[in-house]
């Protein structure tokens, strides 16, 4: 005999209620949308730059699809497949809209930011590189926006020009401007540093590149959640981000490409779904974004991502941003009162992310002790080894905030850090 408890199909109703309109005051009650805090009432989750928590509505949308609506897409003729295809393509349209674009064909689904950037490296940039060209990026990038360019540079004998930072953790824009020349085939820069929280002046940076007609990639992994982004609003050519850093699922992300370069995007993986015609001698491919859809797409992940963006739109980015701003300022102020603390960097504009060190205490030891107080923060290099090396650091402790964090949690953090300092000395 099989024992089974059936989750009732009336799940439907739960879903509708969960998705009830969020309104102006939503930010105050937003925590209740994240069941993890119910399961772990004492959890102080400050590792949001690594991954945010998942909103109930996201998980519900995904599991509802998985349980009751699941089918493969790609031109199935039966109802389930049709409906899945429609949901999938509607999600593309919704995501384009989220990015301020009416053209769903600018939006490709990938596994995440890392995959998106690698695709640009291989499917766009590699075929146009010639010895003597250069690629410009910055010392502050996440490995995902650094190593792909470094590898291309090595393979194609191209110069990798790395924009330095000043001691505050701001990019050296003069140097950046000097780096951009006729041989520059791409400028790759993040919107927000995942280690220092620096908000780069994208307007200015992109303006410099655009004046020389240089394509620009923006790694929006840390900004997509709270900032208005998109290749159109930012005036860039490639935009990348990950679902899991904005309340959505792991394993799904976006690559948006400006209309200018749509036809320059070559396939990445080869397989089903990207084909115009397969002959023994030769295969011809569909256009972007469909030429990136090799293999069965992650339909459920796409539906989860769309639900996450709906959740974000429901709350509103301006409210989210101002909440994060307030938290960041409060945290900077409170943290500075911890004896022996050194906050890393002092950029002109920053949000949501703070790296610090405590005198004589390694970040890992900080993390172990704070874990005992229920505080989750990250210790290490945060996939930004070039940045840490440049700053003469081996590791930092990093706290990063999201909309469900509050000042009380920052107070707990400070209390714990003070206690640790007392204990250690």
């Amino acid at each position: 005999m099989i024992g089974i408890v059936k989750l009732k199909y009336s799940f439907d109703i739960a879903e509708k209620l969960v998705l009830l309109k969020l309104n102006k005051n939503s930010i105050k009650k937003v925590r209740s949308h994240f069941p993890i805090f119910e399961a772990h009432p004492n959890l102080v989750y400050l590792d949001n730059a690594a991954t945010t928590q998942r909103a109930q509505s996201v998980v519900t949308a995904q599991s509802h699809f998985d349980l009751y609506e699941n089918a493969n897409i790609h031109r199935g003729i039966y109802d389930l497949s049709n409906q899945a295809t429609q949901k999938f393509e509607n999600a593309r349209t919704e995501i384009a809209r989220f990015l301020g674009s009416g053209n769903a064909n600018t939006v490709a689904f990938t596994q995440g930011t890392t995959a998106s950037i690698n695709i640009v490296a291989q499917s766009f940039l590699a075929p146009r590189l010639q010895a003597g060209d250069n690629i410009v990026t910055t010392i502050m990038e996440h490995h995902a926006n650094f190593i792909p360019w470094q590898m291309l540079a090595q393979k194609y004998q191209v110069e990798l020009r790395i924009v330095p930072i000043d001691k505050n953790g701001d990019l050296d824009l003069v140097q950046l401007s000097n780096f951009l020349d006729k041989k520059t085939k791409l400028l790759a820069v993040s919107h927000i540093s995942n280690t220092l929280g620096t908000i780069h002046p994208l307007d200015e940076i992109i303006g410099l590149a655009k004046r020389k007609d240089i394509p620009v990639l923006v790694d929006a992994a840390q900004s997509a959640c709270h900032f208005e982004i998109g290749v159109d609003p930012l005036n860039c050519d490639f935009l990348t981000f990950s679902g899991h850093k904005m309340f959505g699922p792991f394993g799904i992300g976006i690559l948006q490409v400006s209309e200018k370069y749509l036809t320059d995007m070559m396939p990445y993986n080869y397989g089903g779904g990207i084909i115009k015609d397969v002959k023994i001698e030769k295969t011809s491919f569909r256009n972007f974004p469909h030429n990136l859809d090799a293999g069965t797409p992650n339909v459920s992940g796409v539906i989860g991502l769309a639900a996450a963006l709906e959740f974000i739109s429901g709350i509103g980015k301006p409210d989210m941003q101002s909440h994060l701003n307030k938290l960041t300022l409060y945290a900077l102020d409170q943290l500075s009162q911890v004896p022996g603390i050194k906050i890393i960097g002092n950029p002109k504009r920053r949000i949501g992310i703070i790296s610090f060190n405590l005198k004589n205490i390694h970040p890992h030891d900080i993390a172990s002790f704070l874990n005992k107080d229920g505080i989750a923060l990250r210790a290490g290099m945060h996939c930004t080894q070039p940045l840490l090396n440049a700053m003469g650091l081996q590791a930092t402790a990093r706290v990063s905030f999201s909309i469900y964090n509050n000042e009380e949690e920052i107070n707990k953090l400070v209390v714990s850090l003070k206690e640790l300092m007392r204990f250690w000395s």
Partner: protein, 144 residues
């Protein structure tokens, strides 16, 4: 669409057109040809256009595909004869537009009207559009 509606549609409209398609043959000569191919399903037709003094004089087609794509191309071929390239562009544009949009535009031709009413036919809209899109793409890219 219910099963009864589907059966009625096929019985009254699609199958007759499918069994007696208009100009379904490979002519000896043609002023130009257009390929209509759907890689997802293998439907593949060649459209043969004959022109004289800037007018389309006849359209033939031949190939393999489902009843819907065949019926749709048959109706299309007939409707395009004696039109100017400009009018063909307008006609195919309007057809595709109507198939893709929520709101409908009317067409005087009853059979075209019938096809356009199938815009929500699950998973089969591409079949109906196949020939029309090929024509649209051809004339859009041609110098008129």
């Amino acid at each position: 669409m219910t099963k009864q509606e589907l059966q009625k549609l096929f019985k009254n409209e699609i199958l007759p057109e499918n069994e007696n398609p208009y100009h379904f043959q490979e002519p000896q000569t043609a002023s130009f040809t257009i390929e209509a191919y759907n890689s997802m399903c293998g439907d593949k037709y060649t459209l043969y256009f004959n022109t004289s003094e800037g007018q389309i004089t006849s359209v033939y087609f031949y190939g393999f595909g489902c009843a819907l794509s065949k019926a749709s191309i048959s109706i299309m071929c007939k409707s395009m004869e004696h039109l100017s390239p400009k009018n063909i562009t307008a006609l195919s544009d309007q057809f595709i537009f109507t198939m893709d949009q929520e709101h409908s535009t009317k067409n005087a031709d009853k059979k075209i009207q019938m096809l356009q009413q199938l815009k929500h036919f699950d998973g089969r809209v591409d079949c109906i559009k196949l020939g029309w899109e090929a024509v649209k793409n051809h004339f859009e890219n041609a110098d008129l």
